[in-house]
Amino acid sequence: MIGLLDVLLPTVILTVSAMLTLPILTVIRRRNSHHRALAVLWIVVPFSAAALWIIHLSLEYYGSMGSQPFVFVSFAPGEEAHLSSSFLVDAVSIYMVIVYLLMGFASCLYGILYIGFEEKPSERYFALTFMVVGSVMAATLSGDLLTLFIFWEASAAGSCFLIAYRKRADSIEASIKYLVMIVIASGFIVYGLSIIYGLVGSLNFWVVRDALITAPDKRLLLAAFLFVAAGYAIETAVVPFHMWLPDAYTAAPPSSAAFLSAIVDQASYYVFMRVLVYILTPPEVLNWPVALAVFSALTMTVGNLFALAQRDVRRMVAYVCVADIGYNLVAITSVKPLGVMGNLFFFFVGGMTTALAFMAVGIVNRLGLKTLEDFAGVGRKFPLTSIALVVAALSFSGVPPFAGFIAKYLVFTAAIEAGMAWLAVVGVLNSVLQSAYLLRLIHYMYARPAGRRVRGGEPRNLLIPVYIMVVAIIVLGMYPAFALDLINPAALQLSLLLS
């Protein structure tokens, strides 16, 4: 039996360690020796504690799964459960939580090596990363729309600080814009929720879902969907709601960008999928896939085209993130088990790939090299970093044996299966476009002679988290069964739900 504590403890662990980070890092900083190692250790401890608990949770869940794939955990016991704020444990959320932990660990590691905790307010940065991971986990495990909403907004608040960390003009502006958009989104979501609540009288996933399938009033349903979807679309940065994303990811420190793209971005896709596929009406009741397919095509195309037009490499990667949203949407709109599989794989792989790209670009950025022209000749001066960036680029482009390929394959196949071959074709064409501009980046890195400013060596320790990602991408690309074995139950679960 899974209790409330089982579900919430990881979040609690991370939140508490966030609190503790402030004094602990201050103490560590005062020491003369080994402080970097100790700081890294401090990253490892909470994450491993949380990981242990997640393992426990998943063992417990899979142990009792035979009876019921969806386990609701509520503050109020018994019949009243659906009235209370609740959590939901299922294969999907467990998978996602594991993904957050892995990627959170790698990007926090990168952060602590990149930001340098000798820097004065850095303990806040690390505290916030813990908090964001914690709240994202809770959001993922939440079982009703309100819990989801609250934890989700909490993570948004945290990420806003991560963006504004360096307090430069552009990062402050970007974080203001980010936050304003988030608040508008939350306004939309609350607006939509209010209608749903009016229709159903509950916000519990299950109750809402069952009630909406037989919803009497199509117009209200449509309005509810419109607002909720628009709200989450803003948070996910679907085109044309995307404009905050490139600004924010370019203005934030690279470590924040990596962290956000790895965790918050993927979580937002996940939430979008969860809300649309699991909770809101199936397509038979309200035919939303076509509309979203249009948005997905738009997002891919605009994301890729804009990325093509960028000279700033980090901004280009940010637009790749936008394009990735389009690919995710393709799978979401297919509403097929294969699509969910693709989505879940994509969350993992896409997160890793974007994070990897930001990390690698960040290493080069430290020298003040920003534009494509600056990147000329980087390939020879920084071979390891460049290989990592090449791996990220090829994974983005969907070239085997990198994991991005499997993700894209799943996604496109799902689209074909859903009868939206046109979307798959658009996706595939976009993929080519993507490979073209990413190859242009590689071209700059290897084919052009290095500029004067490309000098110095590679920071070895920063490469550790980078290469964790590289290895993961290659291993998952060569043998995706590692992740797919975890994902498979989730996909089965969806087919259960859809039938």
Partner: protein, 643 residues
């Protein structure tokens, strides 16, 4: 040994050819000895095969080569009188030429290459005639082309030789593909490539298919045998060393076409079109080729065009033969052999001259008879033999050809052949007059001319003896080939033969008048109507121009295609890429620009406070909100539309 000789006879020279470069390392004598012994053994092997005919064919030694689509294509040897005739001829002439080469080529560079290709040439040709199926035939057919390419371009530093080699190869390749098409259509109909099976089953094919096949194969054969209008490669091949020309004319390359025609005669003799075309093209070539030989000033051009013409005789004879084993068929083959001897001899003799003089221009020669008496004698033999003066071989073979034409009752053809025979004598006589008669030319006065080395004379002598003996062997040849014709020497001394000889004399008369009596100068002949004719002949009937034109057209087509590829096709990707780049920039700019304008417009229209916005701002919060609002609207519209 004897039972393997069907294999050894063609494999031995081919395999030995591979050893030539190695043996050459041992020294020139070793190489020469090796080459000659290979030639001798080849001749022995092919001679060993002759008894197998009388003993009722040989054992089947064929091996499976490839198996495709349920059909076995075997590698085997087809032994019948026809193939043995040719095999022995090739081996014999080959040996003579090799002997000749020892002396003729002695001081050249690159002899390993020369002997390698010579042996390969001989081996391929023997393989060609002994092939047991059409694929095998075709393979050797092409190998013969390849060897002739290599040998014609033997002096690869000479641009003319290289170009001539290419011309030979490419022109014969045109015939080869035609043959290939014929073979494959045959295969498509009968599912077999083996002669045996095709000879048994060809009647199963529809007449139209058979006609098509026959014409394709005929074309192939005609090109290989340098018949009009595709004869010009043969003259270009004169760039080769003369020994090579001798082999090429006497036994190998050009004879392949005759062999193929004789070989397929049994299938195609039921196709009237095939027979008619063969006969007519043969006869016309006989005349026109002879005319070219009459006109040429190149000493090697005479035998070259002579070959064109003589093969025309053979083709005409084959074309009037209603069936194999009939008189025309035999006459054609008989003439093939006699041609091998007299033309081979002709080349060897001319080779001596060229060897000594270092030029091929007849106009620079004259009065050689005193310096080169042996060669002069040989040349007289050549001329007598070629023209068909009794008792030389050609008298009998040409007589038979004439007889077969008369039998076929085809007057125009007969007249053409007679005319050709007359001109043959004329050009031979002309050649003799210009080169050997008269005073020494100024060119010759400056160089010392010797008689040809002994070895060369011996080789020539063998052939010369052949030209005399051969005619009297006609009877046994008839028996050997199993022809339904009684070869009676006495029958040759008849009115017809007299007529034939008279014809020759008529042909010789103008030459006597022009070149010995100097009744008219050669320049005078180039005026008026004759001048036009002269021009036409000079230009090789404008055929070279026509081919040149075609080649130029194809080359310029290629060049234009290439330029198109470089200029257009290459740029297409860049064009597309640039288009996409530009599109993305335009979108990026216009996206912001439009939003900017819209925001400014909204603000100004409502004019709460006037905002002067003209500059483009990127990433302003208002734009985000506005875009999001548009997004919501779009979502709404799409949802309404789809539900």
């Amino acid at each position: 040994m004897a039972e393997y000789s069907p294999w050894l006879v063609w494999l031995f020279p081919i395999v030995s050819s591979l050893w030539v470069p190695l043996v050459s390392k041992l020294g020139n004598r070793a190489r020469d000895g090796f080459v000659i012994s290979v030639g001798v053994f080849t001749l022995i092997f092919s001679a060993l095969l002759i008894p197998t005919i009388s003993s009722g064919g040989s054992t089947d030694l064929s091996v499976k080569w490839i198996r495709i689509g349920g059909t076995d294509i075997r590698l085997g040897v087809f032994i019948d009188p026809l193939s043995l005739l040719f095999a022995n001829l090739v081996a014999f002439v080959g040996l003579v030429v090799l002997l000749y080469s020892l002396s003729y080529m002695a001081h050249e560079e690159g002899l390993p290459r020369y002997y390698f290709f010579m042996l390969l040439f001989i081996g391929s040709m023997v393989g060609l005639v002994l092939a047991d199926n059409f694929l095998q035939l075709f393979i050797f057919w092409e190998l013969v082309s390849l060897c002739s390419y290599a040998l014609v371009s033997f002096w690869y530093r000479k641009p003319e030789a290289v170009k001539a080699g290419m011309k030979v190869f490419i022109m014969t390749k045109i015939g080869d593909i035609s043959l290939l098409a014929g073979i494959l259509i045959l295969y498509a109909g009968l599912h077999s490539l083996s002669y045996q099976q095709i000879f048994e089953q060809y009647w199963k094919l529809p007449q139209a298919t058979l006609t098509a096949v026959s014409m394709l194969m005929l074309f192939g054969a005609l090109v290989k045998s340098a018949q009009l209008p595709l004869h010009s490669w043969l003259y270009s091949a004169m760039e080769a060393p003369t020994s090579v020309s001798c082999l090429l004319h006497g036994a190998t390359m050009v004879k392949a076409g005759v062999y193929l025609t004789a070989r397929t005669h049994v299938i195609f003799c039921n196709v009237p079109l095939w027979l008619d075309s063969l006969a007519w093209i043969g006869a016309i070539t006989a005349v026109l080729g002879a005319v070219l030989a009459l006109h040429t000033t190149d000493i090697k051009g005479v035998p070259a065009y002579s070959t064109v013409s003589q093969i025309g005789f053979m083709m005409a004879a084959l074309g009037v033969a209603p069936s194999p084993q009939s008189l025309g068929w035999f006459a054609g083959l008989f003439h093939t052999i006699s041609h091998a001897f007299f033309q081979g001899l002709g080349f060897l003799a001319i080779g001596s001259i060229v060897h000594q003089l270092g030029t091929r221009d007849m106009r620079k020669m004259g009065g050689l008879r005193r310096d080169m008496p042996i060669t002069f004698t040989l040349c007289i033999i050549v001329i007598l033999a070629r023209s068909g003066i009794p008792p030389f071989c050609s008298f009998f073979s040409k007589g038979l050809i004439a007889k077969s034409l008369l039998l076929a009752d085809n007057t125009p053809l007969t007249l053409l052949i007679y005319a050709a025979a007359a001109i043959t004598f004329a050009y031979s006589y002309r050649f003799l007059t210009i080169t050997f008669a008269g005073e020494k030319s100024s060119y010759l006065k400056n160089i010392k001319v010797h008689e040809a080395p002994r070895l060369m004379s011996i080789a020539s002598g063998i052939l010369a003896a052949g030209t005399i003996i051969l005619g009297f062997l006609g009877g046994s040849l008839v028996d050997f080939l199993g022809t339904r014709y009684v070869f009676d020497l006495a029958s040759f001394f008849s009115l017809e033969s007299l007529m034939f000889v008279v014809t020759l004399l008529i042909g010789g008369l103008p030459i006597y008048l022009i070149y010995q009596r100097r009744v008219v100068g050669t320049e005078d002949l180039r005026r008026g109507a004759l001048g036009v004719l002269d021009r036409v002949i000079e230009e090789n009937y404008f055929l070279d121009r026509a081919y040149g034109f075609i080649v130029r057209v194809l080359l310029s087509l290629s060049n234009n295609l290439y330029r198109m590829d470089i200029r257009v096709m290459e740029r297409v990707p860049y064009f597309v890429a640039n288009g996409i780049m530009r599109l993305s920039h335009i979108m990026l700019v216009s996206f912001d620009l439009t939003l900017d304008r819209v925001v400014a417009f909204t603000a100004e229209a409502i004019a709460v406070h006037s905002v002067k916005v003209r500059r483009v701002h990127r990433g302003v919060l208002s734009h985000f909100v506005l875009a999001a609002t548009f997004g919501v609207l779009l979502l709404y519209i799409l949802l309404i539309l789809t539900t």
